[in-house]
């Protein structure tokens, strides 16, 4: 089984539009984290949402979590060309230690 599968695999939008990426997972989680990766570089932490939370905001980012559906979404509002990157969700299992299990990611392209 695959944990943390993002959807869509690729997303292409214009600057100013909103981008929504979804993540599904299979196990019970302690928390879910979203990361950004610019073209083969390091992973930048965006936001952490715990299993007892339903929504979190950070600047132009909005993350929701639905534990009954085992899914999360990341919304980037008013996107910019600089938001072009791959976005990954990663889960920490409830029964696990602290290991992050990553999905394959969504590649976002924001055109000027």
């Amino acid at each position: 089984s695959q944990q943390g599968e993002e959807d869509p695999q690729a997303l292409s939008i214009q600057e100013g539009e909103n981008a929504t990426m979804n993540c599904s997972y299979k196990t019970s989680i302690n928390n879910l984290q979203w990361y950004r990766q610019n073209s083969g570089r390091g992973l930048v932490h965006l936001i952490l949402i715990r299993s007892n939370e339903r929504e979190k905001h950070s600047g132009r980012l909005r993350v929701t979590l639905d534990t009954s559906k085992k899914s999360s979404s990341l919304l980037i509002t008013a996107s910019r060309a600089a938001d072009t990157a791959s976005y990954f969700c990663a889960t920490v299992d409830r029964a696990g230690y602290s290991t992050l299990t990553f999905g394959k990611g969504t590649m976002l392209l924001v055109s000027p």
Binding site: N30, N31, Q33, Y35, G40, R41, G42, L43, V44, H45, L48, F88, A90, V92, G96, Y97, S98, T99, L100, T101, F102, G103, K104, G105
Partner: protein, 113 residues
């Protein structure tokens, strides 16, 4: 803002050689991790380290791999006898507490020829 650093940024080695990848975690963090990302694939967990011991390791982390915290600041990953399939980007991460945000370094790109 404190950040995780890694050296070298790139390393090329011959199959069968030993490599040591170095990381300096954020100074007040207590939990340390290594992950790797083979080109075009998912980021995969290798090992976690706390209180000078391995806390958890994946199936990938076999006897060819070892980790060490040789002093109060460095955290290293050693691959004893590299294989072609070890070619990947290796990320170090650290967190302040268990199950909290993990901050990643910029990675070391390892190429095994």
């Amino acid at each position: 803002e404190p950040e995780v650093t890694q050296t070298p940024s790139h390393q090329v080695t011959q199959m069968g050689q030993e490599v040591i990848l170095r990381c300096v975690p954020i100074s007040n963090h207590l939990y340390f991790y290594w992950y790797r990302q083979i080109l075009g694939q998912k980021v995969e967990f290798l090992v976690s380290f706390y209180n000078n011991e391995i806390s958890e390791k994946s199936e990938i982390f076999d006897d060819q791999f070892s980790v060490e915290r040789p002093d109060g600041s460095n955290f290293t990953l050693k691959i004893r006898s590299t294989k072609l399939e070890d070619s990947a980007m290796y990320f170090c991460a650290s967190s302040e507490a268990l199950r909290e945000t993990q901050y990643f370094g910029p990675g070391t790109r390892l190429l095994v020829l």
